[in-house]
Symmetry: C2
Subunit: 726 residues, 2 copies
């Protein structure tokens, strides 16, 4: 230990003139001082931070012994780190020593406390921290405080530096890179935070070894570490494998550490690394938001989390600075109402001050591959309409997505008119809310939110994909079949899965069909299941809003109700009513959102059971949201669930005006389906209809198809064809 200490002191002296040099550089500080008062958003951000820190400095400082997982001591340490980082920056900008003193005083208390800490008393994860219940929060703490240390380095005397480095950062570095080496080497957002933390401690301590470990893994064999993560956590299209909520979270350490590396090791050209993967990662994450800015909550995710979250502020600003000043980012920055206190933030604030209107972020229909090599399925997103009223359908046919992945192969989500219409439950967790299991993941996350039946997809025999085994699910992925969004009035995508259930082939085809008959496009959803054995196929739609009516007779459970079954998520579903399709195979189901009506029309006939369910069974602590679904249940070898969802009419609470509460779709019929193709007929009550033909086999864009169903011949070229009749 003594040797290391001497080395650090030497290094400190050696490079003393170069502090700050992690997130801020001396040059940057000069620019900030010069332009501090020039651009309104920078002034606003700076004033707000200054006000907050000035206020914090007035309070007695607290460095409590850690107790809880999401209560006051947790929040205190989290906030202290943020305050220290900001006060450090303020010291650099203002040169007012009160900020440096505040940071120093906190550091010295931490230097007293930290060496005394063992495993956190509320630790439950397999990666416990010391200040925090999980090491993750400790990485975040280090990312913030190393910056603070860097900023006040020159203010500290040698004794202070020694105490801080030895009692905090050295111990942490050891804790992170040796004791928790496995996490640093992990391909996972925890790994990214660990790399950033260890690398930035390396920069703070001027310890090349730590930086190298952070870049190449603890064994420096490039099997783990920051670069490997850049190569493998994102697909070549920039899709982040854990899902969009965690993409948002991971982008922060990715960008922050990249920024620090760019200052420290410009020769790495980290922002160009792996075909500018950080750029793609950000843009794809933004494409994974709905027009209201909310991240589409596939896999573990908090509902409603959007791109205004603080992590996205620094990321957007740095990207704007590093990747050619793309003005379509400015609209988002403007909504964020804050910038990072650095050169990138200045630049964004400057650009914002020079423009009155910014080009909107350009949402597109697109397919994003999954997997490091882009060959592990993907996500398809179809959009139609202006931001004020956009329809979006997303189909998920990715790999598993690591520990935060859900068993939701071929799941579908639907947004319209600014709101979720067919929802993904997201995760079962109240982040940071102490009374709900310390803010940790709730047991219902595994038992419900992750299970297949919690998603808008097919569950076979009441078991989840891969029987809910992550280790198995990680080995497989669904497959793209075709994707075509060239014609905005008819966009279509199709994907398959043959591994989630042994002996069952699944193919889902989802399309947006725009026609002047409708206020927004129809969603066509064709889910084909096929097996040589008998199975039970359950397909729920978790619709949002209030049920209006259906055309079948059903039995409502009005005085007593029971859960659907005992396992795999079914225990969390109340059965509220059940019935079966009519003999004519025409099933309608209508509900309303605050401002629009929706009608689902399905080909379900009397062989299909129809269940009305509601989330909330087997939930003794009331951890779940009580939301409804309509579920189709088919028993047999093969089936095609052919559905059309029609948005229609409008309701206005202000005027109490209701328009077109009845839909126009009369029927959806499966004309035929075999291994080769599926043909669907959609009819309206306005003498307009469509025939949709899709291939079920590999097909090129110009291959011709001809098939006969019910003595009728259907011919087309390519993967699909849509014919309108009237």
């Amino acid at each position: 230990m003594k040797n290391i200490f001497l080395l650090i002191i030497a290094a400190s002296i050696c490079f003393a003139q170069s502090h700050p040099n992690i997130m801020l550089t001396k040059k940057e500080v000069r620019i900030i001082r010069r332009d501090l008062e020039k651009y309104p958003l920078f002034i606003k951000t700076y004033s707000k931070v200054k006000q907050q820190i000035d206020e914090a400095i007035k309070q007695p400082i607290e460095v409590p012994v850690p107790i809880d997982a999401a209560g006051n001591t947790h929040e205190r340490h989290k906030q202290n780190a943020i305050n220290m980082q900001q006060a450090g920056m303020l010291y650099q900008i203002t040169q007012d020593e009160k900020y440096a003193k505040y940071v120093r005083d906190l550091f010295l208390l931490y230097a007293d406390l930290y060496p005394t800490l063992k495993k956190h008393p509320a630790a439950t994860s397999n990666s416990p921290g010391r200040l925090f219940w999980q090491s993750l929060n400790e990485y975040v703490w280090a990312v913030n405080t190393t910056q603070a240390y860097d900023c006040i380095y020159e203010y500290l005397n040698a004794t202070e530096r020694k105490k801080i480095e030895e009692n905090i950062f050295r111990i942490m570095a050891e804790f992170f890179s040796v004791e928790h080496a496995k996490i640093l080497d992990l391909i996972h957002n925890h790994g990214t935070w660990s790399c950033a933390a260890v690398g930035m401690i390396g920069m703070a301590l001027n310890d090349k070894d730590l930086i190298e470990k952070s870049l190449y893994g603890t064994k420096k064999d490039k099997k783990g570490g920051f670069l490997k993560q850049l190569e493998t956590l994102f697909s070549p299209d920039g899709f982040y494998t854990e899902g969009n909520y965690y993409a948002r979270y991971a982008l922060m350490p990715f960008y922050a550490y990249a920024n620090a590396l760019n200052n420290h090791m410009p020769e790495l050209k980290i922002f160009n690394y792996h075909d500018s993967i950080l750029k793609k990662g950000l843009y794809t994450a933004l494409q994974m938001t709905y027009v209201n800015g909310e991240f589409i909550p596939i896999n573990d995710a908090a509902k409603g989390k959007d791109y205004l979250s603080p992590e996205m502020i620094s990321t957007i600003d740095i990207a704007y600075n590093q990747y050619g000043k793309d003005d379509t980012l400015l609209g988002i920055a403007d909504k964020q109402k804050s910038v990072v206190l650095g050169e990138a933030g200045l630049l964004v604030a400057q650009s914002l001050s020079q423009k009155k209107e910014f080009p909107k972020f350009k949402y597109i229909s697109a397919e994003y591959s999954d997997g490091a090599k882009g060959n592990e399925g993907g996500v398809g997103v179809l959009r139609f309409g202006k931001p004020e009223d956009q329809s979006l359908v997303l189909m998920k046919y990715t790999g598993h997505g690591l520990s935060h992945g859900h068993y939701d192969k071929l799941s579908m989500l639907y947004y319209d008119n600014g709101l979720e219409v067919l929802q993904d439950y997201g995760f079962a967790r109240f982040v940071n809310i102490e009374p709900k299991y310390g803010g940790r993941y709730l047991p219902e996350n595994k038992s419900f939110a992750m299970q297949t039946v919690a998603h808008n997809t097919v569950t076979v025999d009441e078991k989840s994909d891969f029987d809910g085994k992550e280790s198995v699910s990680e080995k497989y992925h669904s497959n793209k079949h075709f994707f075509d969004c060239k014609n905005s009035d008819f966009q279509i995508m199709s994907a398959k899965d043959t591994n989630a259930y042994k002996g069952v082939k699944m193919q889902r085809t989802v399309a947006l069909l725009n026609d002047k008959l409708f206020v927004q496009p129809l969603v066509i959803d064709i889910f084909k299941v096929n097996s040589n054995e008998e199975h039970q196929y359950d397909m729920p739609y978790y619709y949002m809003g209030h049920f209006l009516k259906t055309n079948i007779n059903y039995t409502p459970y009005t005085i007593e109700k029971k859960i659907l079954n005992k396992n795999n998520g079914y225990q969390h579903l109340w059965l509220e009513a059940e019935g079966k399709g009519n003999d004519d195979g025409i099933f309608h189901f209508s509900w309303m959102m605050p401002k629009r009506y929706y009608t689902l029309t399905c080909s379900a006939d009397s062989n299909t059971k129809i269940l009305f369910t509601r989330i909330g069974g087997s939930d003794p602590n009331f951890n779940l949201r009580n939301e409804p679904a309509v579920m189709f249940r088919y028993k047999g070898k093969s089936n095609v669930f052919a559905n059309v969802i029609e948005p229609h009419g409008s309701f206005d609470l202000v005027t109490e005006n209701s328009i077109d509460s009845e839909g126009k779709i009369k029927s959806v019929k499966v004309i035929g389906s075999n291994d080769e193709a599926t043909v669907i007929e959609i009819n309206t009550n306005k003498n307009v209809g469509w025939i949709l033909m899709i291939t079920n086999q590999e097909s090129s864009n110009n291959s011709k198809h001809s098939i006969e169903f019910s003595n009728k011949k259907f011919e087309w070229t390519g993967n699909y064809s849509l014919i309108k009749s009237n």
Copy 2:
């Protein structure tokens, strides 16, 4: 019939020069033409109306045979009347004959259709209409179209006038004032609309008899009619007896007809009538909104309906014009983004254009009496805080409130931080939404929404107040006890009811207690029930948001759940869990709203059962919203439910920051309660506490009280006393 016709023609000719003379006057039209392009909001409203009508004129006109109660034919007739009224005004303003022609063409089609109509095919109410399922909508239609007729009167030739008057308005006048005379004479919002319709038809036909019937009742005996309604539908404080949702609705015909009367019979001085009751009616209705503008939904009411609704636009503008240009109305007018196309609208638009900021509408704490003489109980409203974050508690101790009244004596509502926290369910109805029982009141309105157990008040022996009999309930009212809001840091109100349940005396005392310990005031809620017989007392809180935790052991019904009982609303409540208070009499129950936490602390001990319920049982058509409540159940002769609701901490989804998810209230204890007084002790875990003493008997402000409980003497002056200890 012929004689009448001749008379009309004569009258028409006689007064031809004076059209328009109902809502618009010739003089007003001249002013509008002159100032048309002067004020932005008027220009905006005018352009929008013009654009809509220009668009409507391009469409084929439709006057369909009536079929549905809320479907397309209903909406068509409703919209036609609005279009005709607006096109009529546009004709007056622009003098462009295309508008007059449009109105005329529609009138002539109605003149063909109307005489052929019998009772509407979807009629279910006891006041069926012909064009509409209920006569109410027909009154509204007439209020609009008489104005239209007035505006194009001079454009029409004698044959056209004859046909329109004879085939529409004469038949209508007969239908309204003879066949439905009972409604015109009714003290009810339907009566108001009928009076306005009949009176305005009288103005259109220049028929004094109709105007007199509208003013004094069909028998002209002043027992019914417009003036009687002004005297009896509002209390002297301006509280509208049916409740706030219907106040909003009734204010429109009240103000519109008053405005027409002011033009036609200025000698009536209708706006000064009955101590300017129309002014009080509007201001009290506005006080009956929360700071977000939403009407507090006591009695039958749509949730979320606010003062932006079109009825409130003309009302606000006319009030601004008639009652001395009160600038605190301008902020509301500004949010409405529209004005009435008349002199009043011009004036508001002018005032808005001259000011950059408007004084906000001044929300106050106040008590409003109910009953024509102001001696039938009332409503108490306590408010604390700025509009951005205001706490509001309301207690209802009124009379029944006519056919839209609920059995909710001494019910309490609580709003905070911009949202409902303890809700009133409102009505069970999807207004104008055809698939939900034609948009009519649903059966669940009577069976649930009106019942006592649907409200935050005490239900005795599982029966509703007055056994749910309107005729009985109409005879009684609750009584004020005391109300004091002088000290904004401690506001308190108390009321009693001794009639709702035979042999049971009920007294509720509700207070807002502000202290620096809390983010917003505590709500103190003391509900005393007292009888010589054994009863079961149930007291629910319909909390909004998500349950977090409680300190009692409870039995959750996780795999099967049942309804609470069979009648009086209980059949609509699922029992989700049950338990009982702890021996120490300290019960905590916490939940969260999107941005804040709430903890209810109750004195309930092991003699009190605690039920977790959720609305939605016995609801085969899924008409109800599935919302939770926590219910206290006490069996015995007498009890005091002493509760404190503490708002605490904050949650921010953007940053995922959680602060103070634990409340500070440690206990609430009933030190003693008898016929004379109740003494309550509230303690925090911060060594701060309060003793609250309240009188249970009539008491003046300076009468002295002395009482001994548990060998302790409590002394105070007046109705209450609060003592802080620390």
